[in-house]
C-alpha cells in the first residue's frame, strides 16, 4: 500500500513536469558495438580431398561438397566393417577394431548378413571437477555448449581431437548416428554402457521380437522387457527386421529426459537387394555417401535429417555437479518437464550458422533426392522447403499408395514421426522454382532461434552446386554472415541491424546511461535501452522503497509504543503474572 501511494505520487509529479522537460531533451547517440572475434565460415581444417568422390577399400563413396564432410576412411569402415578393411584404413579412423563386424553371407547374395554393431554412450560438454570449463566440448553454435548424451560407434584412444584440445573427436557428436542395416539381416546391437547412468535401446518401429532366444527382454523398456543396462555393463539386442523403412531408436530409461539429452537416432532398414553393402553408420547424419542399392535405383542422393530440440535448464544439469547422485537427483526429482520450454533447435546436431558447414542439401537441376526426416522435438514440427514442393512418399517407414502421395511445401511431423520425402529439382515451377540457395527449416517460429535469438535454430539450405565454391561455402547474396559466427551474437550483445540501413546506425544501439543534454532531473531522463534501466534503476528503486518502508515501520512501532504506554498497568500486570507462573514451574 505504501509503495503504491509512492508510485502514484511520483507519477503525479512526473505528469505535471513532463511537457515542460520534453522540449529540451535530446536522446543519446548511437554507439557501435564491437562484434569481437568471428570464426571464419569454414574452419574444419579437413583435407580438401575428403570432399571428393572416391573409392576406398573397394567402396564407391559419393562426393560431399560441404565445409565439414565425413572422413572417407570412416565411411569405408562403416560399409565394409572394421573387420574387413586394411589396418591403414582402420588407423585413419578413430574406431575400435571391434566396432562393426560384418560377416556370414547366409543367403549367398554377395553381402554380409550377420551384423554386429557396438555402441557406447558418451557425454559431451560434461562437468569437470578440475577446471571451470566443460569436456569434451561440442558447440552447436559459436560458444553454445549444452551437455548431451549420445550413442556413438565404439571408438578407441582419446575422446578429444588431441592432447592439446578439449574438443570432442569427430565420432563423438550430436546427434546419435543413423544406423543402417539390410532387410533380413541378423543384427546384434551391442550396447556397452560407458556412461555413469543406466541406459537402454528401444527400437521404435523396427521389427524386433519381444524376447530373444535366451529369454531375455529385447524391447529396451525397463518396466516390461528387461532391466536397464547399468554403468559398466553390456547388453545385446538381437533382431532380424522383416520390413524395410525409416525407423527410430532411443533410450527408454527415464525417456522424458534421456531422449532430449540426445540418446536417440534414426534406424533405417534398407530393402533387400543382391550385393547390397549399406553404410552401417551415418555419423552426424546429413548426406549418405554410400546409398543402398534400392535407394540408388530411384534417387541420385540420400540425406538423413534429424531435428532435435533442447531445454537449456535440462542440459545444464550434468554440468552443475560431478557427483552422479546429485546429477540424478536434479534430473529425476527436481527437473519438471511439464514446466519446461525448449531453447535450442538443432538439425543433425547443429544450429544455424553451423548447419551451413555440414547440413547443406547439395543438388543439381533434374535430380531426385531422398530425404529421411525424423522429428525428435518435444512438439510437432512443420518442415518447410523454400523454392521446392517435395512429395511425401513414406510415413513412419511405410510407403504411401503412390497415387495418393501428397506433394506440398510444409510437412507436418508429430514427435517421433518419420517422413520420407522425394525432392525433385526439375525446374517446372512446381517441384522447383529453379537454381539458388533455398532455405529449409521448421516453420514453428521458435525453431529458427537459438535461445530466442534469431536467426538460429535448425535453418539450413537446399544449395544448388553452382552457388557453392570448392569448399562448400554458399555464395550468399544477402547480408554479411560474420556476426553469426561470433560468440557475442549468441550472448545477445550485438544489435542485429547495426550495420544496416545507413552509416549513422539509425537502428543501432543507443549509448547507455548517458543523460540527455539540458535535462533537469535524472528521474525524467528518457528510458535508455531495457538492460540499462533494469541494471541501474533497480538498486535506487529498492533503496527508496526501503526508506519509505522504514518510515512506515517506525510509524507503526510508534503507535504500538503509545498503545503500550496507555495500557501500561495491564501490561505490567500480565508480565508479572507470567514471570510468576514461570517461577512456579521451576
Amino acid at each position: 500500500m505504501q509503495k503504491q501511494s509512492l508510485v502514484s505520487l511520483l507519477g503525479c509529479a512526473l505528469l505535471s513536469i513532463s511537457p515542460w522537460i520534453g522540449a529540451v531533451t535530446t536522446p543519446p547517440p548511437t554507439v557501435k558495438v564491437d562484434i569481437g572475434a568471428a570464426e571464419p565460415f569454414c574452419n574444419s581444417g579437413v583435407p580438401p580431398e575428403w570432399r571428393d568422390a572416391q573409392v576406398i577399400e573397394g567402396v564407391k563413396i559419393q562426393e560431399e561438397r560441404v565445409c565439414n564432410p565425413d572422413n572417407p576412411a570412416d565411411i569405408a569402415a562403416f560399409v565394409k566393417g572394421t573387420n574387413n578393411i586394411s589396418m591403414q584404413t582402420l588407423m585413419d579412423t578413430n574406431l575400435a577394431a571391434d566396432a562393426i563386424t560384418l560377416s556370414n553371407d547366409m543367403d549367398g547374395d554377395g553381402d554380409p548378413d550377420l551384423i554386429v554393431i557396438k555402441l557406447e554412450v558418451m557425454e559431451l560438454n560434461g562437468h569437470s571437477p578440475d577446471f571451470p570449463g566443460v569436456v569434451p566440448t561440442y558447440d552447436i553454435a559459436p560458444g553454445v555448449q549444452p551437455s548431451f548424451w549420445v550413442y556413438t560407434p565404439k571408438t578407441r584412444d582419446m575422446s578429444t581431437k588431441s592432447f592439446a584440445s578439449a574438443e570432442a573427436n569427430s565420432l563423438l557428436r550430436m546427434p546419435s548416428p543413423a544406423i543402417r542395416v539390410e532387410q533380413g539381416d541378423v543384427v546384434w546391437l551391442v550396447l556397452e554402457n560407458t556412461h555413469y547412468f543406466p541406459h537402454s535401446i528401444h527400437l521404435h518401429g523396427v521389427d524386433h521380437p519381444y524376447m530373444d532366444h535366451s529369454g531375455e527382454g529385447n524391447d529396451g523398456v525397463g518396466q516390461t522387457a528387461q532391466m536397464d543396462v547399468m554403468p559398466g555393463q553390456t547388453k545385446t539386442y538381437v533382431i532380424k527386421p522383416r520390413q524395410p523403412g525409416t525407423m527410430y531408436y532411443h533410450c527408454h530409461v527415464q525417456p522424458h529426459t534421456h531422449i532430449p539429452m540426445g540418446l536417440a537416432g534414426l534406424f533405417i532398414v534398407e530393402e533387400n537387394r543382391p550385393n547390397n553393402w549399406v553404410q552401417t553408420f551415418n555419423v552426424g547424419n546429413n548426406k549418405v555417401r554410400v546409398p543402398s542399392v534400392a535407394v540408388k535405383e530411384k534417387f541420385s542422393q540420400e540425406y538423413d535429417l534429424f531435428f532435435q530440440s533442447a531445454d537449456k535448464e535440462l542440459h545444464q544439469i550434468p554440468q552443475s555437479a560431478n557427483d552422479p547422485r546429485l546429477i540424478a537427483k536434479a534430473m529425476n526429482q527436481d527437473y519438471d518437464i511439464t514446466d519446461a520450454t525448449d531453447d535450442y533447435y538443432m538439425l543433425n546436431g547443429r544450429s544455424f550458422p553451423y548447419t551451413l558447414r555440414e547440413s547443406l542439401i547439395v543438388v543439381e537441376p533434374n535430380e531426385k533426392v531422398k530425404l529421411r526426416v525424423l522429428n525428435g522435438h518435444t512438439e510437432t514440427m512443420a518442415l518447410h522447403t523454400h523454392g521446392h514442393k517435395a512429395t511425401e512418399t513414406h510415413y513412419d517407414g511405410i510407403e504411401q499408395n503412390p497415387s495418393a502421395q501428397i506433394t506440398r511445401d510444409v510437412y507436418a511431423l508429430a514427435p517421433a514421426q518419420r517422413v520420407d520425402l522425394e525432392l525433385n529439382t526439375k525446374d517446372d515451377g512446381l517441384h522447383s522454382y529453379g537454381q539458388g540457395l533455398w532455405m529449409f527449416h521448421d516453420h514453428v517460429e521458435r525453431a529458427f532461434t537459438t535461445n530466442g535469438m534469431g536467426e538460429g535454430g535448425s535453418i539450413s539450405l537446399i544449395a544448388y552446386k553452382s552457388f557453392l565454391d570448392d569448399k562448400g561455402t554458399p555464395k550468399v547474396h544477402g547480408m554479411d554472415l560474420t556476426p553469426y559466427f561470433t560468440k557475442k551474437y549468441w550472448e545477445r550483445k550485438i544489435p542485429v541491424w547495426q550495420n544496416w540501413a545507413d552509416d549513422w546506425g539509425s537502428l543501432g544501439q543507443p549509448a547507455e546511461g548517458a543523460l540527455p543534454t539540458g535535462s533537469v532531473t535524472a528521474a525524467v531522463a528518457p528510458p535508455p535501452i531495457l538492460s540499462s534501466t533494469t541494471a541501474t534503476a533497480t538498486p535506487t528503486n529498492s533503496s527508496s522503497g526501503n526508506s519509505w518502508g522504514n518510515l512506515f515501520t517506525g510509524l507503526l512501532l510508534g503507535i504500538l509504543g503509545y498503545v503500550l504506554y496507555l495500557k501500561r498497568e495491564r501490561v505490567i500486570d500480565i508480565a508479572g503474572r507470567l514471570t510468576h507462573q514461570l517461577r512456579d514451574k521451576k
Partner: protein, 309 residues
C-alpha cells in the same frame, strides 16, 4: 602419508582386492599385432601405445630397476569413494627415475577402460603417450621406461567422464612434481560439489604441493564472508534515520490520531468503524495528491497542463 595409510586401511576394510575366484572370465590379451613405434593392437579392441622395453631415455645410464604392477579397474572399485562411478584399485604409484615399469591393466567391467599417461618424451613415445586399452573382462600388459626427471604423471581413463567420475591416479617418479586434484582418496576436487546446507562439507585439506590454481578453490570460500556482510548491513539499516523519524512521528501523533478516530467513530459497529477509517485515509491521500500537484504547478509557473494554442 597419513592419507595414504587411510586409503590403505579403507581398501582393506572394504575388501576390494580381487580374489582370483571373482574373475574367472578375464581374458589375457597377449596375441597383439605390432604396428611399429610401440603400437600394438588386436581385433578385440586390445591396444598398447608407447611400448618401450629397451630404449633408455636421455640421462638414464641404465634401467634403475624393474617394477611390475597390476592395476584393477572397474565399477566395483568406486565403492569406497562416494560420488564416483568408475574406479581403480589403487590411485598412487611411486617409482625411481629410469625404472622399467610393466603395467598389467585388468579391466573387470564389460566395457572399455584405459590406462592413459601423457607428458612422456616425444622422441621415445609417440605423442608423448603410454596407453593401455581393453574391453573387459580382460587384461593387457605394456612396458615403458620412465625418464630421469622427478615428475608426477597423470594416470587416467580418457573416455568421456571416466576420469571425472573416479578413474584417476598418479604415477610419481622420484620426488614427483606436485599432485593432481580430485584423485579419489588422495586429493580434493578443485571445484567441490555443493551438497546443500544440511550436509557437512568435507574440510579442505592442506596440500602444499597441489598444483591447484589459486583462483579456482577460493571462489566458494570467498562467498561466505560476503553473505555475512550483507546480513550485518541489513541489520544496521534497520535502525536507520527514517525509522527513528517514523517512530517519533508515530509516537507523538498517536494520541491525536486515536482521539480523532475515537470521536468520528463514536457509537459505530466495528465494520462501520473500519469503513470510516478507510474513507478517512482515502480523503487524506487525495488531499496530499492535490497538494503535490498544486505545489508542482506553482513551482513550474504554468497553470495548465496542455500547452497554450
Amino acid at each position: 602419508m597419513k592419507k595414504l595409510l587411510s586409503v590403505f586401511i579403507f581398501s582393506l576394510l572394504f575388501g576390494t582386492y580381487p580374489a582370483s575366484a571373482e574373475e574367472p572370465n578375464i581374458v589375457d590379451h597377449t596375441q597383439l599385432m605390432d604396428h611399429g613405434e610401440g603400437h600394438l593392437m588386436d581385433m578385440d579392441g586390445g591396444m598398447v601405445m608407447g611400448q618401450n622395453k629397451d630404449k633408455l631415455p636421455a640421462g638414464c645410464d641404465k634401467v634403475s630397476e624393474d617394477v611390475k604392477i597390476e592395476v584393477h579397474a572397474g565399477r566395483k572399485y568406486s565403492k569406497p569413494f562416494p560420488g564416483t562411478m568408475f574406479g581403480l584399485d589403487k590411485h598412487e604409484w611411486r617409482v625411481k627415475p629410469c625404472t622399467r615399469l610393466t603395467v598389467t591393466f585388468v579391466n573387470e567391467d564389460n566395457i572399455r577402460h584405459q590406462w592413459m599417461m601423457h607428458g612422456l618424451p616425444k622422441f621415445l613415445y609417440d605423442k608423448g603417450m603410454f596407453h593401455l586399452e581393453i574391453t573387459g573382462p580382460a587384461k593387457i600388459t605394456g612396458t615403458l621406461i620412465l625418464p630421469v626427471e622427478d615428475k608426477t604423471y597423470l594416470v587416467h581413463c580418457d573416455m568421456a567422464q571416466h576420469m571425472e567420475k573416479g578413474m584417476k591416479g598418479e604415477l610419481i617418479v622420484g620426488k614427483g612434481s606436485g599432485t593432481f586434484p580430485s584423485i579419489p582418496g588422495i586429493t580434493d576436487p578443485a571445484i567441490p560439489d555443493n551438497y546443500g546446507p544440511s550436509t557437512s562439507q568435507p574440510k579442505p585439506v592442506n596440500m602444499p604441493n597441489a598444483p591447484v590454481k589459486p583462483g579456482d578453490q577460493p571462489s566458494a570460500v570467498a562467498s561466505a564472508p560476503n553473505v555475512a556482510a550483507t546480513v550485518s548491513g541489513d541489520s544496521s539499516g534497520f535502525f536507520s534515520g527514517t525509522l527513528i523519524i517514523g517512530l517519533l512521528f508515530g509516537f507523538l501523533s498517536a494520541p491525536f490520531l486515536f482521539r480523532e478516530i475515537g470521536e468520528r467513530c463514536k457509537g459505530m459497529t466495528a465494520a462501520d468503524a473500519l469503513q470510516c477509517t478507510l474513507k478517512l485515509l482515502a480523503s487524506l491521500y487525495n488531499t496530499l495528491v492535490r497538494f503535490v500537484s498544486w505545489l508542482v504547478q506553482r513551482l513550474t509557473g504554468k497553470d495548465k497542463l496542455l500547452p497554450k494554442k
